[in-house]
């Protein structure tokens, strides 16, 4: 599987993602700097977590308007798989590649902890190896992960089975509407999620619950 990780200044979980993709996929992803206007041919583009541009204007807002995003959009339009995690999810939403909004956590505090994540859709490229209803342990680490969408969008997301991950009962760390933790676009090739599966793939992390997500990428490719 060939993959690329898009980098903006302030992104800081790119090494975690690099390690996870390399450990499970066996090949090293390429890094693509935000000023690039082209992304090399690949099966998967990842927008990792962090604080692009310090999250100063609004999380993801500045990154969403960088040159490299035009290239990312072209690839996405041609069906290349795109995964956005945490700040990456925020960037994809700001870029209009995914619907909804990510607001400040309901309790207004940054939160880092393990949550239980329920798999709601096992047909995406990132969840192929899982079954609907599987519950995995996965860490979150964010201050602005409170997913919100207007009633129409929310209804479409739910009706079209585009909610990929939900915080399991009692596990919602941020006030997200309908406990939504991750969604997929209409075409099925762009997935965004707030939790960090890349930090839950080896025994050192306490469990390997999220390894099957990365294994799904191989089966999908």
């Amino acid at each position: 599987m060939k993959s690329a990780i898009v980098l903006f200044p302030g992104i800081n979980r790119e090494r975690d993602m690099f390690k996870a993709l390399t450990a499970v996929g066996g090949t090293e992803p390429k890094f693509v700097w935000h000023t690039e206007s082209e992304i090399p041919e690949c099966d998967l583009i990842v927008v990792p977590g962090g604080f692009s541009y310090g999250d100063y204007l609004r999380c993801g807002a500045i990154a969403a308007r960088c040159p490299v995003m035009a290239a990312l959009r072209r690839h996405a339009d041609h069906g290349v798989r795109v995964l956005g995690v945490c700040n990456g999810f925020q960037i994809l939403i700001e870029a209009g590649l995914l619907p909804g909004a990510l607001m400040r956590n309901a309790n207004l505090r940054f939160v880092c902890k393990h949550v239980r994540l329920s798999i709601e859709n096992s047909s995406t490229f990132f969840t192929l190896g899982m079954s609907v209803g599987d519950v995995v342990s996965c860490p979150v680490a964010h201050g602005d992960g409170n997913f919100f969408a207007d009633p129409d969008t929310l209804e479409r997301l739910e009706k079209d089975n585009r909610v990929v991950f939900r915080y399991a009962e009692g596990s919602n760390p941020n006030g997200s509407i309908n406990d939504i933790a991750g969604i997929v676009n209409e075409a099925g090739n762009v997935v965004g999620m707030m939790p960090h599966p890349e930090n839950m793939i080896e025994p050192l992390h306490g469990a390997t619950d999220c390894r099957p997500l990365f294994e799904s990428l191989l089966n999908a490719a």
Binding site: N12, K19, G50, H205
Partner: protein, 733 residues
Amino acid sequence: MSLPNDIPVTTELVSEHGLKPEEYDRFVNLIGREPTITELGIVSAMWNEHCSYKSSKKWLKTLPVTGERVVHGPGENAGVVDIGDGQVAVFKMESHNHPSYIEPYQGAATGVGGILRDVFTMGARPIAALNALRFGSPNHPKTRHLVAGVVAGIGGYGNSFGVPTVGGEVNFHPRYNGNILVNAMAIGLADANGIFLSEAKGVGLPVVYLGAKTGRDGIHGATMASAQFADDADEKRPTVQVGDPFTEKCLLEACLELMASGAVIAIQDMGAAGLTCSAVEMGAKGNLGIELNLDNVPCREDGMTAYEMMLSESQERMLMVLRPDKQAEAEEIFSKWGLDFAIVGKTTDDLRFRIFHGGTEVADLPIKELGDEAPEYDRPWTQPAPPKPLADSDIPRPNDYTEAVLKVISAPDMCSKQWVWQQYDYLIQSNTAAGPGGDAAIIRIDGTGKALAACTDVVPRYVDADPYEGGKQAVAECWRNLTTVGAEPLAITDNLNFGNPERPEIMGTLVKAIEGIGEACRALDFPVVSGNVSLYNETNGQAILPTPAIGGIGLISDLGKRCSLDFKTDGDVILLVGGHGSHLGQSMYLREVHGLEGGAPPPVDLEKERRHGDFVRQLIKDDRITAAHDISDGGLAASLADMVLASGKGAKIELPASNPHIALFAEDQARYVVTCPPGQATGLIAEAEAEGIPVPKIGTVTGSGLIVMGSATISITMLRKAHEGWFPAFMDG
């Protein structure tokens, strides 16, 4: 604060700059004339307590600073220790107390930023952050606001920068009501041959300014850090710097790229006293002069005077001596990261610190005398009165053991700090093997099977009662916590927070605490490789509890051989390495259950500490014990409660019938609770006894609560409610 260079230096100005008349006279004699205002600003910044260590230097020199693994001890930006395989760990702890009291979010955030910069200035990538926080009484009207702001600030900076914040301490005491403590520690990883120092080398080489622009923030921060507070503390807000973790993250990446390019001869971050301190440091260490042209300094605002530029503590800035043939390459790296790069001066051979602004010379000072030859005092000090040990009869029994245990584990100092550390990203970088909440955090060295363990420790009420024993205890507890997770303790950084050293009784506390720290470091082969001294922590004449925070690191050579405190298997035998305790002076039990703060703290027998610790560490290496937890605040009861809560497994404990309250709550040192499979207990106990270590069997892992036979039966639900309930309730209250 906009002062032209030609205004006359009056006695009032000298005093406002925190210089004593005799210090000013010394300065005038040194330069042979009256100084300009810029020069006065520079000397006040260099000779204040914070930068010069003038009150503590004499005593700091007594600390052991060398060892087999020590590569660079105190005097550099951070300490450097060898961790094998051509790698080194770089670490330091530093205070940001005064700014955090005035503006908690920015004060704490820039404290974290400063210590991270100290580490990456040396060429190390930060891999972990810790912090030691002390707040006033929970009942004080400012406390909640300060806790919320400091915690958010630490998280806000560290999370964005991308370093896992993996451990620390949070305590409360009325003596911190007007002066909280925010001590931040950072650990970095570097190749042994990739360490960068501040010592300038070579004459006529360009001095380069890197990073963020200079603004008017933080002017006189270091001078403030060297003075006491009165009621007008809030008026000092303009002296607090504002942090920008995004720029710092860019600066980190740019600096590491720059260092890899071979362009850097010497590099120094701009921390306290900004451009002044960094330039003087580089020149004085390298026995060179420095000439700066301030017209080239990137400024955030127009019309800044030389005085302001030299004293600004704007964050995220560095100064370096550049290899001239690498200039184009260096500039390109900084422009890629969107950071300023400006040649602002050069090294000279005249040992002068000369500053030009707008075509005129605004300062011309001898660089050595400003820097490494600053004044040094032997301040008068008095021997602290020895505390009176308590007799057993002074220690009342509890009316109800269950209630007493719950009171101890729910006390503000003892309760779970989850509310705090869940605001810190402790997982980023994917190497966290043990985060906050254990005896010590464990961070894997990326790409290896090794790990570093780290923790911070001090029990200020012990130091207050007996500075010498308290100093020893802080080091011993740190060493013990590292041991408990299976690590080989390597070295410490010390952050000495005390009151006004001009008061002989405070100075006496400092002297004796340093003596105790040194004694313990020598006995445990645990040298001091970096540190920071924060004095004048007083408000309206009321000093803080003496708080020498100790940050230690240890090495785990094989990640498979580490230990945690949670019980693993029902039926495991619970052993008490070191035997039952008898000391309750200064204990949590007396304070929380009976409202008594008296007595002598538990004495520290360093020989015993070492023998018991080495024994436990070997058990972990040989894979013979299944859980380990040290005994400290709150005694055996608190340790057992932690072990139950971490595992969800219960324990049934049998204690000596005579004085179960003493056995439960004594805070005697050199002790550990460990568990092992039932078949192995007898052999283990016999081996321990052969080494002279008492290891009574005290119980079994079983059930789901904490049962102390004949005294208390406490369900895990009750334990959890008590231990985890206090902090969120306090913050929501």
